[in-house]
């Protein structure tokens, strides 16, 4: 009995070390998403390039797609355009952009101008690659808030019935795609 007690501090120490060690390899940005398994929230938002076209959750149904929250102001988003274009061209991944507009500060003479934004987006997509079927313009970030978006880039996998199946905070790179998102995307895309 007393010999057993002798080992308790060692066991406690090892347990604590393991716990702290696992913390070193965890991603602090990783948090539980509240939207997974739920349908897309209601919205009706214009297309970025063609504002007459309105997109709703209904009009997006029918095929699994990757929803990418992004903006040209976000360097990480620009950096992942190339790899996502590759996904579109080589694997046929259907990617839809949700354009996240930064708030303008009128005090600094900033105003929202759709024509300028369209031009900037177009030139950006030309130089970095264009992975998008189309872009939805989230002017006041209402849909982004309903999705639980905390910044850009973020990604959602939405199945053919409009149910959100995955939520990834951060960029998509080959490793993230292969290990985390591709299995989910393929699982839902393969469903008849």
């Amino acid at each position: 009995m007393r010999k057993g007690l002798f080992y308790i501090p060692l066991v406690l120490f090892l347990g604590l070390s393991l716990f702290l060690l696992s913390g070193l390899f965890s991603d602090p940005r990783e948090r539980d998403s509240a939207i997974i398994g739920k349908p897309l929230p209601a919205f009706s938002l214009p297309d970025l390039m063609n504002p007459q076209q309105q997109w709703t959750p209904e009009s997006l149904k029918g095929e699994t797609f990757l929803l990418n929250v992004w903006g040209i102001w976000c360097p990480t988003c620009n950096a992942e355009l190339g790899y996502m274009s590759q996904l579109r061209n080589e694997q046929g991944v259907r990617i839809i952009g949700l354009y996240y507009v930064l708030p303008e500060d009128p005090m600094f003479g900033e105003v929202f101008d759709l024509a300028t934004l369209q031009k900037d987006v177009q030139s950006r997509l030309q130089s970095f690659g264009d992975p998008y079927q189309f872009n939805i313009l989230d002017r006041n970030r209402r849909l982004s808030m309903d999705l639980g978006v905390s910044g850009a880039p973020e990604h959602f996998i939405v199945d053919a019935d409009g149910i959100v199946r995955a939520h990834h905070i951060g960029d998509i790179n080959p490793q993230v795609w292969r290990s985390k998102l591709a299995p989910i995307y393929q699982q839902w895309a393969a469903k008849p």
Partner: protein, 165 residues
């Protein structure tokens, strides 16, 4: 001199501008208090470990605006919290709910305390029993005597072991 005046003007105007931006109006003092309380206990999902009142991340600004809007509409504290937790998960509130996982935060310290208490109690009982037995002039029960002899033997062995270089 002129550039200095220009700079002073610039600085004073920018301070004015900043002050104007966040002036919010409320219908009642109660709503103002509720808004202050909510923005202090909601956590910014982007810049971790700041509440949305402290953070100037886009999402925190949006959440502040939304909180203001909901408070104006007469939402209660719990309703606003539910609205945010619906979107950003339990992460967004500094007071996590009691569930299967978080219950251990409360149970574990209590259990450890209880275990230590029981351990101490047992040790005390053992010591008094030993003292009581050595005080007795009468011959202790044979089994107890045997146990005590064994204990002494253990002690001797231990002493020899620890003396070994």
């Amino acid at each position: 001199m002129k550039p200095l005046i220009a700079l002073l003007l610039l600085v004073s105007f920018s301070v004015l501008a900043d002050g104007n931006k966040e002036l919010l109006t409320f219908e009642s003092e109660e709503q103002r208090r509720l808004y202050a309380q909510l923005t202090a206990e909601l956590r910014c999902p982007q810049c971790q470990n700041q509440n949305i009142a402290d953070s100037n991340a886009v999402v925190a600004v949006d959440m502040r605006e939304k909180t203001h809007e909901l408070v104006q509409q007469g939402y209660s504290r719990q309703q606003v919290l539910d609205y945010m937790i619906d979107r950003y998960g339990n992460f967004v509130h500094y007071q996590p709910p009691l569930n299967r996982i978080t219950i251990w935060l409360w149970l574990l310290p209590a259990l450890v305390l209880l275990a230590l208490f029981l351990f101490q109690l047992k040790r005390r009982a053992g010591q008094t029993a030993l003292r009581y037995r050595s005080d007795q002039s009468a011959e202790p029960a044979p089994s107890a005597a045997k146990a005590e002899l064994e204990q002494q033997l253990d002690n001797i062995i231990d002493r020899y072991r620890s003396n070994k270089p």
